[in-house]
């Protein structure tokens, strides 16, 4: 069945249709969540919460913009997840808007990021400011167009391009420096 039809049926209350939609998209949410900094151990909880929220808002948006909303809600859920956690744990110090979501547990992460180069690159991406990290992730790993990225982040097209360039430069610089440090240059 066409996805649009699934969305329409889900919007009408057909839970089976919504179940099929979730099956189609849960991998996107899982991977995107992790790429944005959600810990490997928390990916499932965050993914569940994304789909619960998505269901609540299902009738609020046009079906053609389903994917945009999927990314938006995933991003916001990931942010909220760690803010709530920090509030509940009553941690000291300033809570930054642009929080990098916590410390990874080695075992879960290491099962995903097996190779050192991947681990280094993933960590370097997580150290980017969010406004640079998200366009980079959406472009390289989710293969969204500039327009789609602008839609998800609510920024103009020109800003998407600039931030992508900036992100790439910062990342390359960070990786080069790390290489220099390692080799004692």
């Amino acid at each position: 069945m066409e996805e649009i039809e699934l969305i329409e049926r889900a919007q009408s209350g057909d839970k089976m249709a919504y179940g099929e939609l979730m099956d189609l998209h849960h991998r996107t949410v899982e991977k995107f969540g992790f790429q944005c900094g959600v810990r490997a151990d928390d990916v499932q909880d965050v993914t569940q919460e994304v789909f619960i929220k998505l269901y609540r808002f299902l009738h609020q948006f046009q079906k053609e913009r389903f994917t945009t909303w999927l990314y938006k809600i995933t991003l916001n859920t990931a942010r909220d997840y760690y803010r709530k956690e920090l509030r509940e744990k009553d941690k000291e110090g300033k809570v930054q808007e642009d929080v990098n979501f916590g410390v990874s547990t080695k075992s879960a992460e290491s099962k995903i990021l097996v190779f050192e180069e991947d681990r280094e690159l993933h960590e370097a991406i997580q150290l980017l400011e969010e406004k640079y990290r998200i366009p980079l992730v959406l472009f390289y790993f989710q293969e969204l167009t500039f327009e789609q990225i602008g839609d998800v982040m609510n920024i103009p097209l020109a800003t998407v391009k600039t931030r992508l360039l900036r992100a790439k430069e910062q990342l390359k610089s960070a990786l080069s420096q790390k290489g220099d440090d390692e080799y004692g240059r």
Partner: protein
């Protein structure tokens, strides 16, 4: 790491992400949804909460973020645990149908104004949003209709508000009168969002008709005026867009790269219509919107020096803003992108050549470091600038270790007022001010300064006097015949004669401020720092026309001093000093043209000076309006063809004077005759891109007749 290596690593990492484990079970989520009782459409018979969260949604806010916000608020209804006793439903299906009909009529009304097809109109973001709001709030089964404390009529009106076009909300704002900063920024957010959606819609349309539009060329280049003049040859949607879009604040223009047409914001008429309505700095946001974007793909879209000036404008606008909403955020993004691109080298934006900073970027940095007051960009770049000057602009460690985050930190400090502590000696902040003339308040200040200087002889004590007060003091001294005081207020220079010569040769200017002046003003943007001195101008106006510009200089710890300039114009001759063609000038001239062309009533032009009349003629020329041109000509039959011949001559319109020229100056050419008539020339300075070795300005011939200013036939010959 080169680009290829980078891309390769990213690809590998992307594959690695496939290993993110999945234990997702859709049924678990569905179960949770059941438990929460979240239903997207079917409404359970729950009861009315005590307070509606809908009230907190601003009527003005309509950005995409607010779509999300409304979604969250609506969802919060579903989770609201406050329960009353009885379900509430205030209307039935018949009411709903009636409102649907009315809503449809409101849609059709806006669609007709825009002359858009159904498809175009339906795809406008704010129309879609309005449709959603209508659907959510009106349907009798919707959550909002049960819980909202607004009446159905109020909710319907709210949905219709979201349909309104930019022209409508501007008109409403004009009627509402002056808005405070918060309401101004809210209004801007709404206007900005609708303009963005319209621009996107027109850009899509242009893209669809790219091929035929690329035939609209004048002298081998795409030309927007030519496109407009030949719009009847374009497909109907394009023809409609060309006519209707400007009424909504969007114009179809040639893109920066000159390879296509694009929809751009045209804010001049919007700003004009909102004068006196929006609080500062809201108006500046509209100016910035029209100028933006400033970078594309990491490249500057304007020359570095121009970009630096725009960066200053953006910074001062942001720092003056207390309300940080969506348009503030977008503009802040412009600020950061532009600052970064002006300072840091990248593959798309080369600012280094032969290990040196390129000259145009060095000049741009010079402008930035001369920003007045407690400026983040000044604080950020001044140490770098000084270091580069010492190093003859060769790249050094100071540049290499520059951290862009420091600018962000400086900005935060500036917003909290703490940057002053890091910038000692930068306390000179010059604020725009003006006085209407004559002015008691100004007179009292000037008189106080006069008494003090006469009593002490200490001109250093004039350090606290503003530039306007110094000019007015000179005029006061002139009226009193206080030659020594007058001479002392001038800055020493080779042009300024000694006191003896000054007093003996009668070099003083009578009526330093012309008697018919109506305003004196000081604009902070005219002030700049150079060689540890501040330079500025005080402008003398007569009925919104600039009639005199007086340059002044001050050292960091000294008073303002007037720069002596010998007059080049014979006494009594008509003269308009060299003046930049500002947006204000363009708007004024266009306004005069629009009124005059209606019925050629010269009363409309009665107070206009020579440069304005020249502008009206050139605007008519640009618009291929031969009739208006003819009416403005000197009616000397020996020099011009009959009216019928003139207005029927072939004419495809002329170049746009607003683009071709960047400044003007008017000089009288001969003595007045017995009827007080004389000839004058309006010297138009060509835009720098049009200047050649042979020509930098064009002379436009006019005549002051008994009836007023008129244009000579073939005025540029």
């Amino acid at each position: 790491m080169d680009d290829n290596q980078f891309e390769q690593q990213m690809k590998l990492l992307k594959k690695t992400y496939e290993r993110v484990p999945s234990k997702f079970i859709a049924d678990e989520v569905l179960q949770k949804i059941e438990e929460e009782g979240s239903e997207p459409v079917e409404v359970k018979p729950v009861t009315k909460p005590v307070a509606s969260k809908w009230q907190k949604v601003s009527v003005w806010a309509i950005s995409l973020a607010s779509i999300f916000l409304i979604g969250i608020l609506s969802a919060s209804f579903l989770n609201n645990e406050e329960q009353g006793d009885e379900p509430v439903s205030e209307f039935d299906t018949n009411d709903s149908r009636k409102l649907e009909k009315e809503y449809k009529a409101e849609r059709v009304k806006r669609q007709k104004i825009l002359h858009m097809t159904n498809e175009q109109f339906d795809e406008l973001g704010f129309v879609q949003f309005a449709d959603q709001v209508f659907a959510q709030t009106i349907h009798p089964d919707s959550i909002e209709s049960r819980y909202s404390t607004f009446t159905i009529e109020e909710r319907f009106e709210q949905a219709v508000n979201y349909l309104k076009l930019p022209s409508e909300i501007i008109e409403e704002a004009q009627k509402a009168g002056k808005l405070d900063e918060e309401k101004s920024m809210q209004f801007l957010d709404e206007l900005n969002t609708k303009l963005d959606y319209l621009k996107n819609s027109y850009d899509e349309l242009i893209s669809k008709h790219h091929e035929i539009m690329s035939t609209a060329k004048y002298e081998g280049e795409l030309n927007a005026d030519y496109l407009y003049g030949h719009r009847s040859q374009m497909p109907e949607p394009i023809e409609n867009a060309l006519v209707q879009a400007p009424k909504q604040g969007v114009a179809i223009e040639v893109a920066h790269d000159k390879k296509s047409f694009v929809a751009n914001f045209q804010m001049s008429s919007v700003i004009r219509n909102l004068e006196g309505v929006l609080a500062e700095p809201a108006v500046s946001y509209l100016e910035i919107k029209e100028l933006g974007p400033f970078t594309l793909g990491g490249e500057l879209l304007y020359e570095p020096i121009q970009s630096a000036a725009y960066l200053q404008l953006i910074e001062s606008t942001l720092l003056k803003t207390n309300v940080h909403n969506a348009i503030y955020t977008t503009t802040k993004a412009y600020y950061e992108d532009l600052a970064y691109t002006l300072i840091f080298e990248s593959s798309n934006n080369r600012i280094i050549e032969n290990s040196k900073i390129k000259l145009d970027y060095a000049m741009a940095w010079d402008i930035l470091r001369a920003t007045q007051g407690y400026s983040p960009i000044k604080h950020f770049i001044e140490p770098l600038y000084n270091s580069m000057v010492e190093n003859e602009w060769l790249i050094n460690e100071t540049y290499k270790s520059l951290d862009f985050n420091d600018l962000s930190h400086a900005f935060i400090l500036a917003e909290s007022g703490d940057l002053a502590g890091l910038m000692p000696g930068k306390e000179h902040v010059f604020r725009t001010e003006s006085y209407s003339l004559p002015n008691d308040d100004l007179y009292h200040k000037v008189h106080a300064h006069y008494k003090m200087v006469r009593a002490t002889g200490d001109f250093q004590k004039l350090e606290s006097a503003s530039a306007i007060e110094i000019v007015a003091l000179l005029d006061y001294a002139s009226a009193l015949g206080e030659i020594y005081l007058m001479h002392s207020l001038y800055k020493e220079s080779s042009q300024l004669a000694s006191y003896e010569e000054f007093s003996n040769a009668n070099l003083q200017e009578p009526n330093f401020i012309p008697l018919d002046a109506t305003q004196i003003r000081f604009l902070e943007e005219l002030t700049y720092e150079k060689n540890n001195e501040f330079h500025t101008s005080v402008e003398i106006m007569k009925d919104e026309q600039l009639i005199k510009s007086i340059p002044l200089i001050r050292s960091k710890n000294g008073p303002w001093q007037i720069v002596y300039e010998e007059s080049v114009v014979p006494a009594g001759y008509y003269y308009e000093p060299n003046t930049a063609i500002s947006q204000e000038t363009k708007d004024r001239v266009i306004g005069l043209y629009e009124k005059f062309k209606l019925d050629f009533n010269f009363a409309v032009l009665e107070k206009a000076n020579a440069s304005d009349i020249a502008g009206v003629y050139l605007e008519a020329f640009h618009e291929s309006d031969l009739e208006t041109q003819y009416e403005l000509l000197v009616k000397d039959e020996s020099l011009m063809p009959p009216r019928e011949e003139f207005i029927s001559s072939p004419n495809e319109g002329g170049m746009d004077w607003k683009v071709q020229f960047e400044a003007y100056e008017v000089t009288q050419m001969n003595d007045s005759n017995e009827n007080d008539e004389f000839d004058a020339v309006v010297w138009f300075d060509l835009h720098y891109s049009l200047v050649t070795e042979d020509e930098s300005r064009k002379g436009f011939q006019m005549r002051k007749t008994k009836e007023g200013w008129r244009v000579h036939f073939m005025p540029f010959q």
